[in-house]
Amino acid sequence: MSAHIPAPSRSLAASPPEASPPAAVAGRSAPVRASRKPPGMWATVAALLRKELLVELRTLESVPGMSLFAVTTFVVFHFALNQNTVSGDEAAGILWVTLLFAAMLGVNRLFVADQDQGGFDAFLLAPVDRSAMLLAKALALLAYLAVLELIAVPAFGLLLLAPPLGQTLPDLLVVLVLADMGIAAIGTLVAALAVQTRARDLLGPLLALPLLVPVVIGAARASSPLLVLAHPAGVGGVPIRWLATLALYDLVFGLIAYAVFDFLLED
């Protein structure tokens, strides 16, 4: 009996037979569905997130490219500005421009596999909440950004930054987390918008960059006092209003992305 019930749902989930990674995970969650109760929101998110991270671990399509891009960009900035070290506003600007553009690489690739290999179809066939896709993709992008920053921020400290990074790191971490959440929300939404268009590689950054200007303003202004040479107090140098702006942005666009994302997935 237990061998006979999952069989039809497995063939249903795997209807595009060549769609290997998404179909494999959909097949894995088949026993859950066979118990006649659709999986809950968080179970779906967890399954999708697991799939995303697994695919990324096996293909290494996004994160290594993003990290390498960031480090290369620091080298380019060194030669373009003809400076060995930077600090203050300049340092914050270089850091955030680099992180933002590196994030664009990940955003551009976020839904490409689902679009090309039938992952969307497999997901739509499953009786689950569509918003789970948004949450899982945003969390995956957040994880990519975290790994990117784990490499890019120390590399920045090593290559370009004049003041030592150590004592300001906790404050910088708060700014990074708040900005990453905004980038993840908008990035996921824009990636889903752009992936269905003919010029998806072009439209993704074109849409995302103006939308992320407030994040850049907030993040750069919040982190520039942390990156000055003679840092006065060490801790508590983050202007609270910029953190508040970032948090407000995250909240507003997180909710908007949640509200409109379902409409991008109907077919």
């Binding site: 849409l207 103006p210 407000l248 942005y249 666009f253 409409f263 991008l264």
Partner: protein
Amino acid sequence: MSPTNGRGLRTLSIATIAAIPIALALVFFYAPIEAEEGFLQKIFYLHVPLAIVTLCGFVLGGLMAIMHLRTRDRRWDLRSYVAIHMSLIFGVGTLITGSIWARGSWGHWWVWSEPTLVSFLIIMLLYATYQPLRFAIEDPERQARYASVFAIVAGAFVPMNFLAVRLSSSYLHPRVLGSSSNLPPKMAFTFLVSLAAMALLFATLCSYELTAKRTRMLLKARSRILGFQ
């Protein structure tokens, strides 16, 4: 053909044709010359209404997009498209007049320390991707849906962006929206009439574009029924 098509167009056109000369007459003959900036300040009666109408058009486009997604009525998508399209045209006018005003009163064509101007540019850069996004999607139903999603997100972005940019720089521009009560009554009256004239112009142009688009669709449908292709 269809009596609802283009209804009210004549009234709107006549109202606009009447309102614009009245507004211009008030601007040039009624409103006093401003003490500091002199004659140049008259561009205020063109630039600020243009900017307000543009931003309202963008937000309106977002609200119409919400209506489209709620009702699945394609006419709302058409309205949203027309509102955003017309706002883009008005927005270019705003940027040009703003630039002229900046050159006249501060000596530079572009002033980064002016938050309103900078936010406006960012919003224009965002909305400039509306049509490339829309027309890069072939399926008409999906095109309408995706364009609506964009219009909603961008419509919400308008106030958010103003907040962030305004926080980031010092005040330089006369704060018109907050301080119109500080204007002398003659100037305030002229400004309100100019704003009304500009809104009428926007509404008229939008309804012309809507009528033209609907008529073209109707014509296509009829000729398909009659067998012309």
